[in-house]
């Protein structure tokens, strides 16, 4: 199949064009070895199915990380078994010709069949910019088409131009008619001589030179030019730069910009432009020191509310549907392990996956609108002051904020952070943020073990203050963890803040729908499988062996209840609570129960008994499951949403040996700390795996947060005991 690649600066409407060309007939593929996604779609060109690849938007081909090398690798066909695309479509923002031409020149230098697209022609014309397209074609030596991807104008012409280039036996390619400064030119020549066929283009040599210069300028940067066929060229570049030509990296950029300016001066007439820009007037409000901050808080508040609260009814709907499905399964399949596996293992597991979709959809819908309008860049600009203090980029703000609702969509949204290292730091600390799934646990523990209603200073309740304390600790720990990670294993300077603030534009509904569908699809297909597998496994651990142990003597006990004098509702209650007790005994004997008892010694120093440990194991399916698992372990009959029977039962628990209560306020604090810090959530693990494309990072997150949680809980419990608290 013929292949067409779209490339260009960010904010050029490249993705809008991609959506126009492919419809929503597209999917996302992970680029091997790195965490970059390539969007691929198909369309008909010359009546044949043709693949279109949307490369990540970038300001430069020069790579500072392996992630950024993707565009060049893809265009130059550097990977084994992959060839250069048949046509490269370079998308330019017509309202910002100079910087876009700088990038276009570096792509055209690769000497591939290309078409240059001047997007946003409507905006350029409206603001009085006149571009001589024929003149631009003469300079660039490839076809140039003016379009507006948003309105669809010029798309037909673009299609015809691409088809003509595809059909041409010898499509016109760019050939440089000017020279770089002498040191750049000389070194480029030497590098080009080392490039094997068919890589010997100007563009590849200049890329090797630029990337080598960039990686020499940044001591922390990894080797970027890693391709065996380029190894020799990279060595030449390195020694050339180190042997005196130190400024070539900068010279190269200056020279290319000079050429871009030379072209702009000849094809652009900006004499009629209106000097007052509409974006200036909007920014006067949105970036106002006071008003802007207020709008920022309101916008972020709305985003958070969307993920936290507006998604809620949809999640409830999914949960209720799953419950109905479970009932249906139980009613059509005869009782037994198979029905239980289907209903409580698989259907519930699918529910565990689907329940995240509303939050993901809301978050990415918001992000899409904020991105399209240009406000997301402003939000990063505003929050950068805070984020820079902990060594993170302004773009880390949205993921971290979303983490208070749910780590899963939050981790998925960390993708907007350019630097792979900072993205990783953000992903690894997000699970420390207190998400909404922890709330039921906090509520249960606080209301069971503390005088939660009591007032402090007549203003706050104990429960309210404890909640506040938990959230503040969570923020403090997250910041501390980011700070430590940035100084240890993921050491690196605070990323430079170089954010383009694109002109304000209307958001596009197509882009929104496409974003939301794409993220949901990725989550279900890539994280969903892991979550489903874990759900079924956890179900099996708690379910098998499923017999109620003989020594419980269920039938005898039932007979006693039945033969006793109790009648009516009292007898019903007695039978139900007997059933709950039987279930608790089964659970004790289950694999999870045995596991809990086996690893109990690890948790005894924190003040927990094996029943709590079983709750912790069960809660890996989702933190809020801790509450329901505890109900099962303690043989509390299902009180629905009413936690008071469980609360009562928890207060009654005593250690079998000492006769002391199990749940003391000190144990409560220890548990709160544990749940605050531990990555007790398989869905988060699955999301980290998907976004880092590796099992190592989720394992690392599990271990570090586990050790942190265990250590803190230990410190609280042992320290508290030492100080004489109970």
């Amino acid at each position: 199949m013929k292949q067409i690649a779209l490339t260009g600066n960010p904010n050029t409407g490249k993705t809008t064009l991609f959506n126009r060309l492919t419809g929503l007939n597209q999917k996302v593929a992970n680029y091997p070895g790195v965490t970059v996604e390539l969007r691929k779609g198909t369309t008909l060109f010359l009546d044949t199915e043709t693949q279109i690849v949307d490369l990540p938007g970038t300001y430069s081909l020069v790579a500072r990380s392996r992630d950024e090398a993707v565009t060049t690798e893809f265009l130059a066909g550097l990977n084994p078994g992959q060839q250069s695309p048949d046509v490269v479509v370079v998308v330019i923002d017509a309202t910002n010709l100079l910087r876009n031409l700088y990038f276009s020149l570096s792509v055209l230098e690769l000497k591939l069949p290309s078409v240059v697209v001047l997007n946003m022609m409507d905006e350029a014309e409206a603001s009085g910019l006149k571009i001589d397209i024929a003149g631009l074609e003469r300079h660039l030596q490839v076809p140039v088409v003016g379009i507006s991807a948003r309105n669809g104008t010029g798309i037909d012409k673009l299609r015809q131009t691409i088809e003509k280039t595809l059909a041409s036996a010898e499509p016109q390619v760019f050939s440089r008619s000017w020279s770089y400064s002498q040191p750049v030119e000389k070194l480029t020549q030497q590098i080009r001589d080392q490039l094997p066929y068919p890589l010997g283009s100007d563009g590849v040599a200049l890329w090797v030179l630029g990337s080598t210069a960039a990686s020499l300028a940044n001591q922390e940067a990894p080797e970027i030019v890693v391709h065996p066929q380029l190894a020799h060229a990279a060595t030449i570049a390195k020694s050339g730069i180190l042997d005196g030509a130190t400024g070539v990296g900068e010279q190269l950029i200056e020279d290319r910009y000079q050429e871009a300016r030379h072209i702009v001066d000849r094809v652009l007439d900006s004499s009629a432009t209106d000097e007052t820009h509409i974006s200036d007037r909007i920014d006067a409000i949105l970036l106002h020191p006071v008003g802007g901050l207020l709008i920022f808080v309101l916008t972020m508040g709305a985003l958070f509310q969307g993920v936290f609260a507006w998604a809620e009814p949809f999640m409830t709907f999914i949960e209720e549907t799953i419950t109905v499905l479970q009932t249906v399964v139980h009613s059509i399949i005869p009782p037994g392990a198979l029905a239980d596996l289907l209903a409580d293992g698989i259907v519930a597991g699918v529910g565990n996956v689907l329940v995240f979709l509303p939050q993901i959809a809301f978050l990415f819908a918001f992000i899409s609108v904020l991105e399209d309008t240009g406000y997301l860049a402003r939000a990063a600009f505003i929050s950068d002051q805070i984020m820079a203090r902990i060594g993170l980029h302004g773009r880390a703000f949205v993921p971290l904020l979303s983490g208070f609702a749910c780590a899963v969509p939050a981790i998925m949204s960390a993708r907007a952070i350019e630097s792979p290292r900072d993205r990783l730091v953000t992903i690894l600390v997000t699970p420390l943020i207190s998400c909404s799934a922890r709330l039921p646990i906090y509520t249960l523990i606080i209301s069971s073990l503390f005088a939660s209603e009591e007032n402090v200073l007549g203003l706050f309740s104990v429960a309210g203050l404890m909640m506040l304390g938990l959230y503040l600790s969570s923020i403090a720990v997250t910041i501390l963890a980011a700070w430590i990670l940035k100084r240890t294993i993921l050491r690196g300077p605070t990323p430079p803040l170089v954010i383009e603030l694109p002109p304000y534009r209307m958001p596009s509904l197509v882009n929104l729908v496409q974003q939301v569908i794409e993220r949901c699809k990725i989550f279900v297909s890539e994280a969903g499988t892991v979550i489903l597998a874990c759900s079924v496994m956890l179900w099996a651990l708690l379910y098998f062996p499923s017999e109620i142990p003989q020594e419980f003597q269920l039938e005898e006990k039932q007979a006693v209840v039945l033969s006793n004098t109790l009648e009516g509702p009292e007898r019903e209650d007695a039978l139900i609570s007997l059933q709950a007790e039987a279930k608790a005994t089964q659970l004790r004997n289950s694999y999870a129960g045995r596991l809990g008892q086996a690893i109990e010694p690890i948790f005894v120093p924190l003040g927990y008994d094996w029943k709590i440990v079983v709750g912790i194991i069960g809660s890996f399916a989702a933190r809020e499951v801790f509450v329901s698992t505890l109900s099962l372990v303690y043989g509390v009959q299902d009180g629905g949403d009413d936690p008071s029977p469980l609360r009562k039962r928890l207060r009654q628990q005593v250690h079998p040996k000492t006769g002391q209560p199990v749940f003391t306020p000190l144990v409560g604090l220890s548990l709160l700390a544990f749940f605050l810090l531990a990555l007790q959530c398989m869905s988060t693990v699955a999301a980290i795996r998907r976004e880092t494309q590796s099992w190592n990072w989720p394992l690392f997150a599990l271990v570090y947060s586990g050790v942190l949680a265990w250590g803190t809980a230990l410190l609280i419990y042992q320290g508290g005991q030492w100080l004489g608290f109970t």
Binding site: R99, G249, E250, D283, I382, P496, L497
Partner: protein, 77 residues
């Protein structure tokens, strides 16, 4: 005189870089902050926050520390 010293609303032409992190410099240059570029300070965030520039027709925000590394000369216009 550096970009940092420019008052909001004033324009200048970029003359040269004064030190600074070489890697950041390359990035800034690729964003169009090259010799001869027309730079206007559009807005400054309060409390030493980022600075907003208009660079040859588009808007870019950078940190104050980086603004101090760019020497400028006042433009005629």
């Amino acid at each position: 005189m550096t970009v940092y010293d420019l008052e909001a609303g004033h324009s200048a032409r970029l003359k040269s870089f004064l030190g600074g992190d070489p890697s950041t410099r390359l990035r800034l240059m690729e964003m169009g902050l090259v010799r001869g570029a027309k730079v206007q300070v559009r807005k400054r965030a309060p409390f030493g926050g980022p600075i907003e520039l208009r660079v040859d027709g588009y808007i870019l925000s950078i940190r104050t520390a980086d603004a101090k590394t760019m020497a400028v000369e006042l433009a005629a216009t």
